[in-house]
Symmetry: C2
Subunit: 450 residues, 2 copies
Amino acid sequence: MASRSNTSQARLDRLSTALDSGTLADVKRMLNGLPAADVAHLLESSPPKFRHILWQMVELENEGDVINELGDELRAHFLSDMDAAEVAQITEHLQDDDLADILQQLPDTITQEVLNAMDHRDRARLEQVMTYPDDTAGGLMSSDTITIRAPLTLDVVLRYLRRHTAIPAMTDNLFVVNRNDQFIGLLPLNTLLVSDPSATVREMMITDVAPIPAEMPDSEVARLFERNDWVSAPVVDDDGRLLGRITIDDVVDVIREDADHSLTSMAGLTEDMDTFAPVFHTATRRAVWLGINLVTAFVAASVINVFQDTIEKVVALAVLMPIVASMGGIAGTQTLTVMVRGMALGQISKNNSSWLLHREVSVGILNGLLWAAVVAVAASMWFDDWSLGLIIGSAIIINLITAAATGAALPLLLKRMRIDPALAGGVVLTTVTDVVGFLSFLGLATWFYA
Amino acid sequence: MASRSNTSQARLDRLSTALDSGTLADVKRMLNGLPAADVAHLLESSPPKFRHILWQMVELENEGDVINELGDELRAHFLSDMDAAEVAQITEHLQDDDLADILQQLPDTITQEVLNAMDHRDRARLEQVMTYPDDTAGGLMSSDTITIRAPLTLDVVLRYLRRHTAIPAMTDNLFVVNRNDQFIGLLPLNTLLVSDPSATVREMMITDVAPIPAEMPDSEVARLFERNDWVSAPVVDDDGRLLGRITIDDVVDVIREDADHSLTSMAGLTEDMDTFAPVFHTATRRAVWLGINLVTAFVAASVINVFQDTIEKVVALAVLMPIVASMGGIAGTQTLTVMVRGMALGQISKNNSSWLLHREVSVGILNGLLWAAVVAVAASMWFDDWSLGLIIGSAIIINLITAAATGAALPLLLKRMRIDPALAGGVVLTTVTDVVGFLSFLGLATWFYA
């Protein structure tokens, strides 16, 4: 039996073949037969030229869904070509949270026009979602909840549901509210299906689940979903009034983006970057990062500059000095990665960070001693100079301990200063390990050979 | 209203306070009142000593659930202290896929003993899950499916469900099978709730969803769930027979691990690492990575060694050479990160990789020219030597283009050789950018000043 993936992959392959052979009508038909997420994936996996041909073939009625599935950078790119009327037209059937995300990417004047084009009730609902930043629970929620009252019997609830033509996707629980619209409990559909229909909602509902406050940061929401294996969860305002619900599909995006953030930030990139961005766009973004790192490279160079006389006397120092700096950089990056990841997973707090700092410094001492010995022997034999070995060994111990301490303490410090440790950590860290590496090695050498 | 998170955080804080003030009975009561995932998170966020005190307080009946929620490395640590009878006892209520994961971490003799201690039917089901590697659909599935037959009316299905005391968590669809147990369609619970009870399953079921073959790699399964917003999906064998189902909670773990893999591998760490591993354990693991990088540092040093005479003549070369190597390393790492991430997201294929290679080289040329000019002017003014500026500028252009080409081509090559690009890429890349950086800069200088 063909799997969905095989089928989907086969369709994508056939699409490529059709594009190569130029039967555009076929391509268009195939493209619009794919799920929106597959079309979005295809656009994200295509170089710009091919991407624009594909986008022009997407039918108007599918554009909103595809836009919704795209990453931020690419989505902004396509939206920038549209006016308010077009945006309003293609997005009118989207859920509130998705539409709010899209509107928040648009210039304010266009957002206002889109809002004006909507009917009063839709606009009021949307404006409520948009009062919350998109990285909070409020920004993730949609308002397609089914609410019931506690005194009803399950039989009445079942008959009430049967009056619907469809139940929103990812509905695993009905939300029980009181007269004031305050959330008081959950009735799982599974409970509804297996319980005695004459029982009341009050008897069968789950009340020990606390709803999510709308201001909760999205990464904390993701952690709650992960730890509790939720499919959907209610969102409430400060007074406990039900505002909407968050579903696992939106949470999965948050998890993916949070995990991506650490990876891309450590290389000075953004987690919503477009893999196939055009040359000029890519070059300008990357140039900034290279510029920042160039400044730090000049700082390191100016340290070496101080020791010109010593290097002139013992050229072997110039040969060996990158080893000291590089070992420090590698060791420090390992520590930094452990810290950044631990922070992203919510594992690191005031209680345990001093233990981590101690652990890292101890590891730095142990590995410093080990590799200092190896490098010392290798350098001594290479240049037939045991004092050179002793000097580089000492420098490596100093630099590996510095790297460990910096790699562990720096992210804690940056976080307290509200600077992203994943983004700034690497730059500061390698500056420290370069400077300390060159300074300790060349400094000790100057003291010895002078 | 207190949120679940606030409550949960408050409980964790109270736990810390209780531990500090030494009222162990309180701690034990609180700890065993927490959800298993919270206990696991607490253990993962604790230094070893504290962790063992906590673990001893976990009641036997909760141990299996907590073990199930732990990361691989920490789980293996706790399991290593248990014998087969204990493992069998604490895990007997777990789902097949979870139990299979745990058994696959144990030594074969213990696994066999645990299997022998199970009743015949449980063992047969578990052995079926265990025939599939744990990174495939088969390894992710559990057998707690509810299956129905197509000729039934919805009313019969509703009555059949009502005979259950509970429906498995994350059940959003019932699976429709034929006489041979082959999967033929899905009946969403939502459809069941809103449709006319006299309709048949055959009329209402969804048939255009292809089931997941048991051999599918888990990252592909994750992509299907993400793109289609599934909560659960059926798994079938080669003959289309229903084996079980995969639920979104297990898929979320795969997504998190896959995203974590790129981050940790690029620093020579593993995605299942224990943030609070003890000193000696951490030191030995990190030592290997430092050793590998030391070898590459010596390769770079031996390149510099060739140019000793030139450096002796122009010491400014020693001052400036780290700038050339470092700019190459930074630019190359950016390209490598884009490639590794694109591969993890399934965006990069044969069709588009040559475009990416071209784009990266073009970006390398543009940024090479830009920063070569800046560095050339800065170096010329610093050392009052315009030829030195010209030399370093040329070396930077060469190295940034090399970095771009290597960063883009290397992961494709490594993947074809079945070597993990995230793990090996960084080491090879920085070796290339160091060697080419030193070689081009010192080589050009030797040619000019000799």
